[in-house]
């Protein structure tokens, strides 16, 4: 297990290195200087060039960039008066984290309930209803759903605020919009897993022992069905973060995703690079943590690893 973790971390490092190299080369390939600000005096510019090592050859610059990166310095934004990218990320990450966490939590709970219910009522109207909902949730793009949610619930009915971030009620619509995909994915997966578990012989054994249905479903059914679901939480979190780019833009939430989209529109390259690397580290770590967790939680994998 320890060896597995170290190998995985090794791959993660190579992956991140490639992403950083790619981002760096892109930055070099683009014309112009990051400090083209007329208000900056010449000496100041030179100091900045020195600080970021822009007067040195490209490989040396990459080395400096990497060492700055390791020390948590992602450079400065061109548009926001040369403010450090790390500061901007720090300010923005809060709203995104709350939104993402709420969406994954709500989505997972509803998805699990829906999936379990569909499996228990297999081939009934409830099962078909849940399946249809799941297909719709997976197929309809989140931004389409968000747009209409904002229009009908927010504008036409006037029930909830449609933009900005001033408290819990502001997070309801974006959370719903972001959670729909999570609900659909989890419900679909849970239904299939649950149906498979319910067909296992240990369920039959439990039934013939005279255990109550509720006990069998909670203790034997759900617990076994839940294990594989952990594997999709990783990709799901990545999808939610991706989805939040658009959702934050639609609901004007001052989160990292909105910032990222704006930096693309305003060509704020240093900020784009910094955020890209931040996202990459986040994505890769989430997947790694989930994979390692899975190894600890699933007893079958632990046995296989021990042999």
């Amino acid at each position: 297990m320890i060896r597995y973790i170290f190998t995985r971390i090794g791959y993660m490092m190579i992956t991140l290195f490639i992403i950083i190299l790619l981002s760096f080369l892109l930055m070099k390939a683009l014309p112009g200087s990051p400090f083209n600000d007329e208000r900056l005096p010449e000496t100041q510019k030179e100091l900045l060039y020195k600080k970021y090592g822009l007067d040195k050859p490209v490989p040396v610059q990459f080395g400096i960039y990497l060492s700055n990166l390791v020390q948590g310095d992602l450079g400065v934004s061109f548009v926001f008066d040369n403010r450090p990218v790390t500061k901007i990320i720090q300010e923005r990450i809060g709203a995104s984290a709350i939104l993402g966490f709420q969406a994954v939590l709500v989505g997972t709970i509803i998805g699990l309930l829906l999936g379990i219910l569909a499996a228990l009522k297999h081939n009934t109207i409830i099962d078909y209803g849940a399946t249809v909902l799941a297909v719709l949730g997976i197929s309809i793009p989140s931004f389409v759903f968000a747009g209409f949610l904002q229009y009908w619930v927010g504008v036409k009915l006037g029930w909830l605020p449609i933009a900005f971030w001033n408290g819990f009620e502001y997070s309801i619509l974006p959370t719903i919009a972001l959670a729909v995909g999570v609900v659909a994915t989890i419900a679909r997966f849970t239904r299939i897993e649950m149906l498979e578990v319910l067909n296992q012989e240990y369920i039959l054994t439990a039934q013939s022992k005279g255990l109550s249905n509720a006990y069998i479903i909670t203790k034997h059914g759900i617990r076994n069905a839940l294990i594989p679901i952990i594997t999709i939480i990783g990709p799901l979190t990545v999808n939610t973060i991706t989805g939040s780019l658009v959702i934050e833009k639609i609901f004007s939430i001052p989160g990292l995703g909105e910032q990222f989209v704006n930096s693309i529109i305003t060509n704020d390259y240093q900020l784009i690079m910094g955020t890209t690397i931040f996202y990459a580290v986040l994505f890769v770590s989430v997947i790694l943590i989930i994979d390692i967790l899975y190894g600890f939680i699933d007893p079958r994998i632990r046995v296989a690893g021990g042999e």
Partner: protein, 342 residues
């Protein structure tokens, strides 16, 4: 007992016996007609109503994407300030007010009457007076084109990579899998964004950006399938008979991997359409006047509160395409899976 019978048979004349020939032995009686791979899959698919509905919608949408733009005389980039933001108006259906296809906008004003336009715009017009019918089908055409192109390139690279990796095994497989392991960690959207920033948005750059990480899942599916098939005895038998590697790969392994490949491709297409739309939404889509479904949804989203018709129509079409491909993909997966078949 046996010996006794043999003793007795000695007394029978030889002409009562007939020599058994190998050709006369019938080991198997094939009673039902043979089913080819495609017939078999089609039989499975036909039972799945949802998948068939999906397939019909896909065919219908493709036909409209091909012929739709020619169904009236307007070009997709033809602007006319005299007829901006017209709601949809369709002959016959205009008499059913609840459908909202009578040219009356959200405030109850008949925009056609007000602007003195006698022509019918089936999907209405956008803020520059462009005919949305032409524009949406033109956009669907481009979205589908990007999706199919991306799926095809994924398929070619993925199948070749996966097949070579699995078939040759050993050191080759080891090196190829290490490369995959590094690449698979790269978040797709990040690479898409980086590449499009360098290449500038366009049909080819968007396709390329999607392909660059898209082929990996296909390669993994093909590798897993071929590794499994490789250990089967019919492959060993073929090899014993002197079949070349090329023959083994193309005649035995690839055809038996077709099921999972087709299913994966079917799911790649809605994924690509979604990615393209998402990129449009964050400002990295095709540049005007070229339109894709994503850019149309994005443009009409800005007008949603005043003129919702554009957003409604384009969202319905993009959702319909995604739903249909997902339904078809689910159906195909069941049809190709012998475990599900009854």
């Amino acid at each position: 007992m046996t010996a006794k019978i043999t003793e007795e048979t000695k007394h029978y004349p030889a002409d009562l016996f007939e020599l058994a020939s190998q050709a006369d032995i019938v080991s198997d009686n094939v009673l039902r007609p043979e089913q080819s791979f495609w017939q078999d899959a089609w039989r499975g698919l036909r039972k799945n109503k949802a998948a068939i509905v999906g397939l019909c919608i896909i065919i219908f949408v493709i036909l409209l994407a091909i012929f739709g733009p020619f169904m009236n005389s307007h070009g997709y980039d033809e602007q006319n300030i005299a007829r901006t933001n017209l709601p949809p108006k369709v002959p016959v259906l205009e008499h059913l007010p609840f459908l909202g296809l009578n040219g009356v906008d959200g405030r109850g004003v008949d925009q056609y009457e007000k602007k003195g336009i006698t022509e019918y715009f089936w999907f209405g017009t956008d803020e520059l007076g462009r005919d949305l019918w032409t524009r949406i089908w033109q956009g669907t055409r481009i979205s589908l084109y990007i999706a199919f192109l991306a799926a095809t390139i994924d398929l070619i690279i993925g199948v070749a990579y996966g097949a070579i990796s699995a078939f040759y095994g050993g050191r080759t497989d080891n090196v190829m899998q290490r490369i995959i392991e590094v690449l698979v960690g790269i978040p797709g959207l990040i690479v898409n964004i980086l590449l499009i920033l360098i290449l500038k948005p366009g049909i080819l750059s968007i396709t390329l950006a999607m392909v660059i990480v898209g082929w990996i899942s296909m390669a993994r599916i093909v590798r897993a399938q071929i590794l499994k098939l490789k250990s089967y005895e019919y492959v060993l038998a073929s090899r014993t008979l002197g079949a070349s590697n090329q023959r083994l790969i193309w005649k035995h392994l690839i055809p038996n991997t077709l099921g999972p490949i087709i299913v994966a491709t079917t799911f790649t297409i809605p994924g690509a359409i979604f990615t393209e739309a998402l990129l449009s939404f964050i400002g990295l889509g095709l540049q005007p006047p070229t339109a894709s479904l994503g850019t149309i949804v994005n443009d009409s989203y800005k007008l949603l509160r005043i003129y919702p018709h554009g957003m409604i129509v384009s969202s319905i079409i993009i959702s319909l395409i995604m739903i249909s491909f997902n339904l078809l993909g689910d159906g195909l997966r069941d049809a190709f899976d012998p475990k599900v078949r009854k």
